[in-house]
Symmetry: C2
Subunit: 376 residues, 2 copies
């Protein structure tokens, strides 16, 4: 992956080329072994005026004429690309594929970017009428607080923990610790969410190489297996959902991923969850089965999701501190879990991690994608 942050010196193409080259070198293969690619990016059309990203990247990575296909599912675009790559290998159509995610977001002003991100929600029934993403998550937070007694401090504790992890990750956008008091005193974006409850706008790219198991073993001594993949949809507008104190799509997708991998929440040693807002992390750790519904807030407050806790969550720093270049996030999660399972996560290494999970959400939860990864 590239360094995440305000990357004004590198364009969209450069970011992907950087991440792709690193992935290919790490895999110990040459580019001519790759027979297809998939790339996740949410809004390149609006952010940089460029669609047709698959072909663009085949060109800039020197991989022509292999097919590269762009997939989009808002903030879950990266994990969707991972899943397509997984299917391409599983189908027998390709032996080795490269999968990337990228977003170049800081070339426009923050209001323009917010409007563009709004395209992940229901344009006709939410955004057009004035809803914003922080606003939609704020509604979920309010309901969670009312129903389960979750407090603003509990929400803040997720951001505090993620910043603490981010300090140990050289690729993270923010590498400074914050306190609950800092979060509580930061500017309100959509009450109860304050600016330090929100993930930032970020440039970045990440890439991984996927191969059939027997092929992977011929290249690397440390392959990581995709043991389960789950994807689910829910109503795009919040007002149509059955559940607003959690994401049903996360519940359905994780159930599938757990079943396919033949594991349960207690088997997961480390997880990257989609904390676009602090409330999203609290809901995710409940929806994924790590804690009972309503217990996510206290668990976070009590340090159960810290690096040395029961279930280390977002060791990379998460979307909050590592940054959230939308299309890249799902792949970054996979990169972080790979490093953890290989014992290469440096100062943030989870001891003896052998099974990990990634959880990536599109918009306010209309898409969720969950992968279970296992050490070989």
């Amino acid at each position: 992956m590239t360094k995440f942050g305000e990357n004004w010196e590198h364009g969209f193409r450069d970011l992907v080329a950087q991440a792709g080259t690193k992935a290919i070198m790490d895999a110990g293969i040459s580019g001519d072994k790759i027979s297809a690619g998939f790339v996740g990016t949410m809004a390149s059309g609006k952010l940089i005026g460029q669609e047709h990203i698959g072909a663009l990247l085949a060109d800039y990575m020197g991989l022509n004429p292999i097919p590269i296909t762009r997939v989009e599912g808002a903030c879950a675009s990266g994990s969707l690309a991972l899943r397509q790559g997984f299917m391409a290998v599983a189908s027998g159509m390709h032996d080795i594929v490269v999968v990337g995610g990228v977003e170049k977001m800081t070339d426009l002003g923050v209001n323009a970017v917010s409007d563009i991100l709004g395209g992940a929600g229901d344009q006709e029934w939410e955004l057009f009428l004035g809803a914003t993403f922080p606003g939609i998550y704020a509604l979920m937070a309010r309901k969670h607080m009312e129903q389960y007694g979750t407090t603003e401090e509990m929400l803040a504790s997720a951001s505090v923990k993620n910043h603490k992890n981010g300090v140990k990750n050289k690729y993270a956008q923010f590498q400074r610790e914050i306190t609950i008091d800092d979060v509580m005193k930061s500017k309100v974006v959509a009450s109860p969410l304050k600016v330090l409850d929100c993930s930032p706008i970020t440039d970045g790219a990440a890439a991984v190489v996927l191969a059939a198991t027997e092929v992977a073993e011929s290249f690397t001594k440390k392959p990581v297996h995709i043991a389960g993949s789950g994807q689910a949809s829910d109503s795009i507008a919040l007002h149509s959902r059955e559940l607003v104190t959690g994401l049903k799509a996360t519940q359905v997708a994780s159930k599938k991923a757990y079943e396919r991998a033949a594991v349960g929440p207690k088997d997961i040693d480390v997880v990257e969850v989609h904390d676009c807002f602090s409330i999203a992390e609290i809901m995710a750790i409940e929806d994924l089965g790590f804690f009972e519904k309503g217990q996510g807030g206290p668990a976070s407050m009590e340090g159960k999701t810290a690096l040395d806790g029961e279930i280390p969550v977002n060791t990379s720093g998460g979307l909050k501190a590592c940054g959230h270049p939308v299309g890249a996030t799902g792949i970054k999660q996979a990169v972080e879990i790979c490093w953890q399972l290989r014992g290469e996560a440096e100062g943030r290494q989870v001891k003896d991690a052998s099974i990990g999970m990634t959880h990536n959400v599109g918009g306010s939860g209309a898409t969720a994608v969950v992968h279970v990864l296992k050490k070989s």
Copy 2:
């Protein structure tokens, strides 16, 4: 598929719901049998302010919580969705999937839409500097004319033939015949291409249901097999290409599709090619191997691609007369070939058609996707 045209009475969501419902009814299945979906759309973010199209459509088609994934490869987005659906079934991950394509283009003015379509080319090196899509294809046409003696009348003959076919297709945007003289006298867009050499701006959607062979046979007596699928990339900017009198991506993709299907150009009974401009059809019938390089123009002029010719091309009316709702085109091509192989193409039926082909191009040729379909 929906009627293609200026569809001001139906929004983006309605178009997909219409096409999807028709496909499901035609397949004789109920929605609850479908376990995943893929949808191709190029520029919904810029055209209607909406990304996250997969989840939106799962919602509007009442298919939650199944996963639906959007793929994008400019004007080849539809065929990319078809290919992902094919891999999802081939991988064993899903038994029955729905695949759609859609674009709602007429809500904006023609200049805005032209700029948006420019996102399929190289934004930094072509469009930003003033190139347009008709301009890029005009360069290819000029070179083809210089190198092979192709004439403007030969180019025009492709449009004339496609309009003739369109008259017989009730879903086509244009249902009127035109003459070579009409084309020659129409307004110049980018010399030598005139407005009647160009495909129109269109609203529309199309959908197909894919299933594992044994599953398909339990639902329908007329399944159509996907016998081969090929996808390839080329440089996104024309100035970086080896070949400008044809599309290398088409040549590579069709080679793969032919090999997988174990057939050659002579075995194809009917083909839908990507005629975004008349020159594109001339190049396509050469690149796909139906005619020698340089012989596409004379072949078209001599009626060899007509409904009763050697190889009937674009029986639907093609992009020129049936219309070109960008993301929908690749799926529309598959729908047309299905109808042909089932003997349901009414007044434009090709006699005894048993093997067909679809050819879908992204932008000026940086992506090409070719499928070979066979009657069961």
